[in-house]
């Protein structure tokens, strides 16, 4: 038995080989730049600690990504659930509609957001006509704008892992629950919800990690408070040609996310939650 399982572990090897070549090797070079210039130095790391700006940008990044994940889960879960309960034909259309945002380039999309959310935009005009507000509300170039823009892009990455897991939940279990006298909402909360948690975990991980690496959307739809670490890294690498420091900032970003991951896994028992602990 054990033998068989370790055989399957071998399936990781092709990916590992590709990662070693296309990821580890190129990045290790950058890691080396962060401590050589060209002599060994810790000046990049000293700069990192000396200036609170980078810690602030890291916090911005984590804050933006956290709220994006929460919002995407809140909007995505009901939609994924709906997809498991409708007819095949309706599901096809739902899928197509969910994928629609992908086909539009991001700068063009930001033009559309100005049309919809701007101070003279459709939403503000409608709210004023309805008498709900008196003056236009600022929906762009702040945290709200970034959240809207990023959730829009990342929502499919939440919905599909959720849906993938939900379709595997045996409807017989729910029926059994109900036949034992549980009202539908109880059957949902006690049976469906816990079984869908691996999907929740996967969707959240996917959305959070992707959000951390984003820099074009925060720059287009956010304000100074939404400047992310990825933006500063891009500036160092591309404008300032300061690759050593860009690499140092990347080490900080990856390190922070990995630490968060480990803490969450330990604290929430994510391992058990996602079923990896199953022997």
């Amino acid at each position: 038995m054990r033998y068989w399982r370790s055989r399957e572990a071998l399936l990781v090897l092709p990916a590992l080989a590709v990662y070693a070549l296309l990821y580890l090797y190129p990045l290790s070079r950058l890691g080396v730049w962060s401590v050589f210039d060209p002599e060994p130095t810790l000046k990049n790391y000293r700069q990192l600690i000396a200036d609170p700006v980078y810690a602030k940008a890291l916090l911005n990044t984590l804050e933006v990504s956290f709220w994006v994940t929460v919002c995407a889960l809140g909007l995505g879960y009901p939609l994924a659930y709906l997809m498991t309960t409708v007819s095949a034909r309706a599901r096809v259309w739902l899928m197509a509609l969910i994928m629609v945002p992908f086909w539009t380039s991001i700068l063009v999309r930001s033009f559309a957001w100005v049309v919809i959310l701007g101070t003279n935009g459709i939403v503000n005009k409608t709210l004023i006509v309805l008498g709900l507000i008196e003056a236009p509300v600022r929906l762009l170039y702040n945290l709200i704008g970034v959240e809207i823009g990023m959730v829009h892009v990342l929502l499919p990455f939440m919905i599909f892992p959720l849906y993938g897991v939900m379709t595997q939940i045996d409807p017989a279990l729910l029926r059994a629950g109900r036949s034992l006298g549980a009202p539908p909402w109880r059957a949902f909360v006690h049976i469906f919800l816990p079984l869908s948690l691996p999907g929740v975990a996967a969707g959240c991980v996917l959305v959070f990690l992707m959000a951390v690496g984003f820099y074009i959307t925060p720059a287009l739809l956010g304000g100074p408070q939404q400047i992310t670490l990825a933006t500063l890294i891009e500036m160092q690498v591309s404008d300032m040609l300061n690759w050593g420091f860009g690499a140092t900032l990347s080490v900080l970003l990856v390190g922070a996310v990995a630490t968060l991951f480990v803490i969450f896994t330990a604290a929430l028992g994510l391992d058990r939650l996602t079923g990896t602990g199953k022997a």
Partner: protein, 263 residues
């Protein structure tokens, strides 16, 4: 029984709003694409098809679209294969380092693409591969694979291993078990993962700038170059065309599969 139907109505209503949120900006762009003035405007001041004509008349746009498509197809095949196998290995395999391994395998998602781009350039330059479609394929594969791993691994975690045990006890080799039992079990998730891999490659711009070149210009790179100083309204026509084509293909593929399953 109104009390039983109420939650259902609320669910539909809520999901309807989410769909409106997803589709609204694209609707704006579709309408703006029929604008007659050489300036992005909403609502359009006059109506015309000039931006569609311009797309089809330009070889540079058309070639870029074709290259993006070819790169994305290869990336989809490569990253789906690699990612699916890795996910099976992670979830079904037994290894001491599973948590660390998983963290490592999904970590490329966090690294800013510009950093990856510089690193990859130094890897590919001595091989004389920069500026080619091959370089784009390699770069996009490393970005798309983690996404496949996360999606497929989630589905695998839910499906129980008992079918595999049964297959093994009936004498199937471990590889045949993977091939004919494990993979079909999570086929929908693999399909979704493949779709995301395709889109990741098809949308990617930073690696496209670094690893591409005058002979390897993808659609997103071409779009960015016409966007630094002005937003070329041709872009709205392209977005509209892509949305329509993709939606039709997706719907047709799904409906065809249904029809086949029924027959």
């Amino acid at each position: 029984m109104p009390s039983a139907r109420l939650p259902r109505i609320v669910l539909w209503l809520f999901c309807g709003l989410v769909i409106v949120f997803l589709v609204a900006p694209i609707l704006v762009i579709v309408i703006a694409s029929f604008n007659g003035t050489p300036f992005l405007q909403f609502p359009p001041a006059s109506w015309s098809l000039r931006w569609y004509v311009r797309f089809f008349a330009s070889e540079r746009w058309y070639e870029a679209a074709l290259l993006s498509l070819r790169v994305a197809v290869v990336v989809t095949i490569a990253s789906t294969a690699l990612g699916t196998l890795a996910a099976i290995g992670l979830v079904r395999g037994r290894t001491r380092f599973r948590a660390a391994l998983e963290l490592f395998l999904v970590s490329p998602m966090v690294v800013p693409v510009i950093v990856m781009a510089v690193g990859l350039y130094f890897l590919l330059a001595p091989l004389r591969l920069t500026g080619s479609a091959a370089a784009l394929v390699l770069g996009h594969t490393i970005v798309a694979t983690p996404i496949v791993i996360v999606i497929v691994a989630a589905a695998l975690r839910l499906s129980d291993g008992s079918l595999e045990l049964a297959a093994r006890s009936l004498g199937a080799t471990w590889w045949r078990t993977v091939r004919y039992v494990t993979v079909p079990q999570v086929a929908p998730a693999i399909g979704a993962a493949a779709a995301f891999a395709f889109l990741t490659s098809f949308d990617e711009v930073v690696l496209a700038v670094f690893l591409g070149g005058p002979d390897a210009t993808t659609l997103p790179k071409r779009m960015w170059e016409s966007m630094r100083f002005e937003i070329d309204p041709t872009l709205t026509a392209i977005s509209t065309l892509l949305t329509v084509v993709a939606t039709v293909i997706l719907a047709a593929a799904q409906l065809a599969r249904r029809a086949e399953e029924r027959s």
